[in-house]
Amino acid sequence: MGAAAIGVARQRNLYGVVLLSGIYSFLMATVMVVLDAVDVAMTEAAVGAGISTVLLFGAIHLTGGTESKPIHRPWLPLFVVTVTGAMLVYGTLGLPAFSDPKAPIHQHVAPRYLKEGPEKTGVPNVVTVVLASYRGFDTLGETFVVFTAGIGVIALLRRRSPRRTREKDDEGGRA
């Protein structure tokens, strides 16, 4: 996975970048399966490796296949990223150990969801219970986010015939 990420950063050919990020997503999906988060793995494989690869190829088809040379030297951004990363790693040192049952996140509402969720709703998959029932408002918000993304893309990229002719006139006027 690290190799794929470094490849994405080093590669100048954008087709290679898209393919490598698809591979990265597949590896990420397998990591999610290992961590028993099968729902997330499914989403990662379908969206990350499947649809976004196709969409990125579509975008490359519109814009052209090679990255332009960067104008600035990358040292300042590299410095900022390194410092931020180091601070984040330092922050994780204060977290409880991975899969520690006494961690606060496992003490709050999670036991109630795990115990009561399947009983109260009759749905054995706790992920679905939390997503659709306990966190119904959040999921409604997420659906609206997806909806808004679709509307935004339509508003930006769709061409209607009246506007098309107007743009043509503009180009003609400039020429």
Partner: protein
């Protein structure tokens, strides 16, 4: 386009199974992994696969633009409609317990319709994004001529 007969045959074989798998992920989401979002992406991926192999006009004949745009809004409305329905039946917004005869069947019904709303919106949005990306150069080319 004449040499890709293998791709065409394989696609024809695979796409029905992909769609059925999407439905399985949707309706089995109560018991196994999956749910509206994953199923929506799988359904959209099946149609995008069809469009890649058979061309965009063929896919647009199967799933027209107007239908996709209608479904895009319909899914969100379905989700919100479940919330409104639970208010009308005397509960809070998105309170599924009042939707059925007893709380458990109410929860089942609520989760079912909410997931259906997520499926419809996600599938339509993914498909629509693909359509506008793939069709842009084509439409621009037609405008230039």
């Amino acid at each position: 386009m004449r040499l890709d007969i293998i791709l065409r045959v394989i696609a024809k074989l695979l796409i029905p199974f992909a769609l059925v798998f999407g439905l399985y992920v949707q309706f089995h989401g109560d018991y196994g992994p999956g749910g509206g979002f994953q199923a929506g992406v799988i359904v959209a991926a099946a149609v995008i696969f069809y469009a890649l192999i058979y061309g965009l006009p063929a896919a647009r004949r199967v799933v027209p633009d107007a239908l996709v745009e209608f479904l895009l809004a319909f899914g969100v409305l379905l989700y919100s409609g479940v919330g409104i329905a639970s208010i009308l039946l005397g509960g809070n917004f998105l309170d599924y317990f009042v939707l059925g005869a007893d709380p458990i069947s109410g929860q089942h019904r609520g989760i079912f319709w909410v997931e259906a709303g997520v499926l419809i919106t996600v599938a339509a949005v993914m498909l629509k994004i693909f359509y506008v990306f793939a069709a842009r150069k084509r439409d621009a080319g037609e405008a230039g001529q």
